[in-house]
Symmetry: C3
Subunit: 337 residues, 3 copies
């Protein structure tokens, strides 16, 4: 049995096999890969696209899904051993996860970081508890990484630009009124590095460096592929010759819990100039642009870019359906063997 | 491809064909009209009957439905073009609706008026954005009109009184502790006029006149049918000889945003006397009574009327299931062709 | 047609037949017992296990389920006759329940006590209204009793200890930071007595006596079986020779609405010593322990007990799926005949 928690646990070849399977599902959507199987999709955070694509996908594979929304941004479940549970937590993962494993054949979990203390978020406590106590496959529907989004992005990129090895992938920080979590940024970095891109991370300040866990994993992939990971505050250098620009906004990790100071840093660093526009795109090598959704137009990406043929965001979102079907079908096969 | 947004877009003959199909589904509930189709039912407002009847109906036609509840009474989606999205809206209809169109084969939308500024409500912004950007059929599950309720009402009336042409339909304002939106009043007016009734609207004051869009559409239908639309504050005249009394409470449009003043107007106009009771019904021509639900007993309609054989409210609610199946099946056929 | 509201309405033989059917479903999960049937599961209170097990169970029997969550801990529905509905309630059970009966073939209801005035809670107003006005079978998914949990408990006990007649069942009050409702305590008492156990209720104070409705029903069962119901504050006596210890926390009925005083009573009565631990279990006759979930570890039950082979809580939770399928299948047969 195998979980799908992060692409760090899967080889490039395994991930490519998932992408190939996703293309088969795009051409021929229905199968009985999940026949007589029930799946729980547990959302600790709201969702429209993820919920839609997982529910439709499970149904098209013959499965039956139940959506559970424990509510609130955190879940009063205890995951530590030996604790006297006289606080908020009404129950322990040691009971709730095994029981869900008896009702369901697969469990998807969305649990965003609490966004207060990064060292806590980095332990991915809810997903880790599910992975530890589940006796059925667990799928990450976005926590501190978003591996299903990674697959959807890579499917859109391969569809459009073909070979990815040695091409230039620019992960560009973009503006947003609030600091956001780093999940999709971590994921874009991991996936681009694994698939042989040279990766440039464009940020308004060194403080926007992603966590070492993801930086070093990406560097390891890059080294294996003979490629590089670069971080820069120079937008011209970042865009020059890029084949892909991937947009994402995120909060600076050293400023966790001090977001007022981070806002001042953005101001000082001139963060607003990071919006993706036609002028920047003109420096690229006929580059494409993508973004996970939702996306604020004319804040993150200018209309002229978002409405152009360069923009892959809608195709990427559609791919969520196809790649997640590939993941569910694969995990079902692994659980059966 | 065709949407089902308002009965204004459908001819009487087309609506009658939907009613005929609904009767076939009542007799024989199961079909494969939606086989291998997924439907999204998007509720920006809570629902029990609409949600139940759409989900059960889609399933009985072989379809798979997903309920999405973006939450709150408004949805932070931007529908205007060219806006710098640095406010509340996290995403634009230009992304979210096309993506739902890729996951789903049909989309139902419930989005009540915000009830602050009538000129804003009258643009029906959320439904309009779905209709504009969707590449699959969109169904109105209640916005500023409620066309599925119209069909359910007409099915119940035809079942009971047969021919509708030249019969008298009294749309009576009824009391309620709070001002309510005009959707079902607009709809009852449109549908009764389209099906050849002479329509009398009974209101406590001229300020309760419905919006000109609906008044003039109804007058146009009435003219085509050789019938009339009348508004009166005279309850005796309204009930005399009525074949149908349709009850609905709504807020006076000129008082939008000044509901305290509207409450004073109600008081002054003696609005409480508009409750439907046996004495009033005795003036009718053996008239029937209906109401969309929920319904406050002994405020809107007296128990003696609600518990009598005259009352069609429960039959009308049941019909929601049948007519919505007719609508979904019809839109699926139109989308296929 | 028959409802499943409380085990008080079902004979031991009938309940045993449900347990036997549950074991068949455990061995062979799929059937068409609910084919072409739609079921509404109406949750006035949140749920994860109940919702999961009912939805999965209905699907495995070929049925289609819709979850309705009217929201809030109470439902603004009027159940009394003849009332002028100018308060909070927007609709009357006389409309809403018949309409759900037209859409659905079976209705499950969860509606917890309001926990303010016990005499109100004891009328079980929401469930009673559903049972009164529904024309399809109604299932209690937990109100002031929890009959599905009773069946799940008894299935786990029979699986482990075999014969129940003449064995000792100790229903032990256990600590919890807040006063909880008595539903599962009432249910454990009813079911243990009906199945021939000698029942000992261990409480920190006489004030924790359960309501006379349940005490006298249990005493009647015990008399019919030649057994006894005993209440004690002596923990040693309660555990000595017990074959089963069933843990539940509940608030003292005479203190309803005065929970501060109840907290003082707990303190004075040394309630904390009621946690189930190895020392207490050593007094039993190799006894097993169970508990409905959620369960606070090291507050209600010590880790050493919860992690031992004695603990049946997870098996009991799994059984919810099997017994509820037996209930739904049985009610479907009764409704058909």
């Amino acid at each position: 049995m195998r979980h799908f928690l992060t692409t760090e646990d899967w080889t490039r070849e395994e991930l490519q096999a998932l992408l190939d399977a996703a293309r088969v599902f795009r051409a021929d959507p229905f199968s009985d890969a999940l026949a007589r199987r029930s799946l729980a999709f547990v959302f600790f955070n709201p969702s429209m696209r993820t919920r839609s694509s997982f529910q439709v996908g499970a149904h098209q594979l013959g499965g039956h899904s139940v959506v559970l929304e424990p509510g609130g941004s955190s879940w009063p479940i205890e995951a530590r051993d030996g604790v006297v549970m006289d606080g908020d937590a009404e129950e322990h993962a040691r009971e709730v996860v095994p029981i869900l494993s008896r009702y369901f054949d697969m469990i998807g979990v969305r649990s965003f970081p609490k966004f207060k203390i990064w060292s806590d978020d980095l332990t991915d406590p809810v997903l880790s508890a599910f992975a530890k106590y589940a006796s059925v496959p667990v799928i990450n529907m976005e926590t501190i990484v978003h591996p299903c989004q990674e697959l959807a992005m890579m499917m859109a990129l391969q569809d459009r630009i073909g070979e990815t090895d040695g091409r230039k992938f620019t992960l560009s920080w973009v503006p947003h009124p609030r600091p956001l979590n780093t999940a999709v940024a971590n994921s874009a970095l991991l996936m681009a590095a694994k698939f042989g891109f040279d990766v440039t991370i464009a940020v308004p300040d060194e403080a926007y460096r992603l966590d070492e866990r993801f930086m070093s994993a990406a560097q390891e992939s890059a080294a294996a592929n003979g490629r590089s990971i670069t971080m820069t505050t120079d937008l011209d250098a970042a865009y020059d010759g890029a084949n892909v620009v991937y947009a994402k906004s995120w909060g600076a990790i050293p400023y966790f819990g001090r977001w007022d100071e981070e806002a001042a840093l953005r101001e000082k660093a001139g963060a607003a100039r990071f919006m993706i526009d036609e002028e920047k795109m003109a420096r690229t090598d006929n580059g494409v642009v993508s973004h996970c959704l939702p996306m604020r137009r004319n804040v993150k990406i200018a209309d002229a870019v978002a409405d152009s043929d360069r923009f892959l965001g809608v195709a990427e979102a559609e791919n969520r359906l196809h790649v997640q079907k590939a993941v569910m079908a694969r995990l079902a096969v692994e659980a059966r063997s």
